[in-house]
């Protein structure tokens, strides 16, 4: 149970009132670039342009975790800023804060109960108006929205954790806000909202969770089957063009100089000769699969499964499905849920004295 309020006038109005009442001095939220068709994250300051806020725009043009990291990399905001984030985005940001890539102070986190997003290409090629109705219809019913990205279909972490204010939409005709922290309650008070006691999530949210969990299992199995073994790796990553776009849009891949782009991987001529002699034929540039597997070992424990990588892959490799569903194996190994809590230590920077005896010999 929590303090909740329904917002029939919509989330946009609530956000604007936060700005207008001076509760926050800025907003980070999706905003229409063009009338209802394309949007981008924007930092909207008090007194700024609040036209066309689109907090529920069903696409992810950038991972807000990455956006927040960029904003607060150099230090915390001097004044409160409200940010509207999807659960995976917020979890990514929490991971980044752990990695010293951002500051949590002065952020009022408004977490969305996420219905999932469509592949980004759909935003480019189609008109949102054509399918947005179906999107909300499905959510209202607590069903998986058809056509959303596979990672979203199999996402069972769509209910925000750690947010100050939770926006609940699944199974509701009118969206509802739940104020979960002092910061959130303080904001509600300043806005003069009349809060009542209520459940954070509608009962149908649980139904959706079940459905998603089931789907997750299916997809995980499928994708694991696809990448299985050497041949699987070759088949899936064979067409990779080595652009590393997946790593570049990944919120977790925060390195300035990616190890795989360093001079380490510029080989001397002789090493090509040697390899040629050994193998007869050799794919160039080399290390395509190494890059993916290596990246996985570097960041899969923190992978939040946001799906940006897959959206950005120009050759359509199901990167995020692989990372999410194989990454979750690795996370389970350490009992770690990335972004669940700021206090939870990153798996590879901590240890227990007695563990994993099975790998010792």
């Amino acid at each position: 149970m929590a303090k909740v309020v329904e917002i029939p006038e919509g989330l946009e109005a609530f956000l604007i009132s936060l700005l207008e009442k001076g509760i926050v001095s800025g907003l980070v939220v999706l905003k229409y670039l063009e009338e209802s068709s394309k949007a981008s994250y924007a930092l909207v300051p008090a007194g700024g342009d609040t036209e066309g806020l689109a907090p529920l725009f069903p696409f992810m043009p950038a991972n807000a975790g990455k956006v927040l990291s960029r904003l607060t990399l150099e230090g915390p905001f001097p004044n409160p800023i409200a940010v509207v984030v999807r659960p995976c985005e917020f979890r990514a940001f929490v991971e980044l804060v752990k990695l010293e890539q951002g500051h949590m102070e002065n952020l009022l986190i408004i977490g969305l109960e996420c219905g999932g997003v469509y592949p980004l290409g759909k935003m480019v090629k189609e008109n949102v108006g054509d399918f947005i109705g179906a999107y909300y219809e499905a959510l209202k019913k607590g069903e998986i929205v058809p056509d959303i990205r596979p990672v979203c279909q199999g996402c069972d972490l769509f209910q925000p954790v750690g947010a100050d204010i939770v926006v609940s939409v699944v199974g509701r005709g009118v969206p509802q806000l739940a104020f979960l922290t002092e910061k959130g309650l303080d904001a509600a008070e300043k806005l003069g909202l009349e809060l009542k006691e209520g459940e954070v999530f509608a009962p149908l949210s649980q139904a959706l969770l079940e459905a998603r969990r089931e789907r997750k299992g299916q997809i995980a199995e499928e994708i694991k089957g696809e990448v299985k073994g050497i041949e699987g790796l070759e088949r899936v990553f064979g067409k990779c063009i080595g652009c590393h776009c997946c790593s570049h849009v990944c919120p977790i891949c925060y390195c300035k100089d990616c190890f795989f782009e360093s001079a380490t991987f510029d080989y001397e001529p002789i090493s090509y000769t040697e390899r040629l002699e050994r193998k007869g034929t050799l794919r160039v540039p080399m290390d395509t699969v190494l890059f993916h597997l290596g990246r996985m070992t570097h960041m899969a424990t923190s992978c939040v499964g946001c799906g940006m990588c897959e959206d950005a892959c120009p050759v359509g490799i199901p990167v995020s499905q692989i990372f999410k569903f194989i990454g979750s194996d690795l996370q389970e190994l350490f009992g770690y849920v990335p972004g669940r809590s700021l206090q939870e230590e990153l798996p590879l920077t901590t240890y227990r004295l007695e563990e994993f005896s099975e790998v010792e010999e």
Partner: protein, 154 residues
């Protein structure tokens, strides 16, 4: 790919028995010293193990292991000080987690995690080092050549 398969077949046929290539990442303080000791004491262990010295077992980035496996190694051995004995106090605990991660990853990908082995070998354990080397080589020999060797598109 055909060519590669042939090549490997030839390898096996001409030599009769498969000689695996094994990369060993040994920590400087314990396991490498143990290898030294084994050498000094003229203990026999198979020549298949190609030793790479690292300052601490935790320096072994999983990428190194994967790189070795994708680029021709049939097995990878990581060896360091026993838990609690790490020269850097806790490096080997991290190493253990990394190996766990690597093995799980390989498993999830349907590859063979048993090609990776973590062993704790103290500086004085020269005989144990020889033993581990022998054992692991044998184990890999049983597993046969790493199929990644022949994969053109890796």
């Amino acid at each position: 790919m055909k060519v590669e398969e042939e090549r490997m077949k030839n390898e096996r046929e001409t030599e009769g028995v498969f000689e695996p290539k094994i990369v060993g990442f040994l920590c400087y303080w314990c396991s490498y010293t143990a290898a030294d000791l084994a050498g000094v004491s003229r203990m026999k262990y198979p020549p298949n193990l190609r030793v790479m010295r690292v300052m601490c077992s935790s320096r072994v980035d999983p990428v190194f292991i994967i790189k070795a496996l994708l680029d021709g190694a049939d097995g990878v051995l990581v060896a360091g000080c026993h838990p609690g004995d790490c020269h850097y106090q806790k490096g080997n605990y991290y190493a253990r987690r990394k190996i766990a991660l690597t093995k799980r990853l390989l498993e999830s990908l349907g590859l063979e995690p048993e090609r990776v082995r973590l062993s704790w070998i103290a500086a004085s354990e020269g005989p144990r080092f020889a033993e581990v080397a022998k054992e692991f080589t044998e184990r890999i020999r049983q597993l046969g050549p790493n199929p990644a060797k022949g994969a053109l598109f890796l």
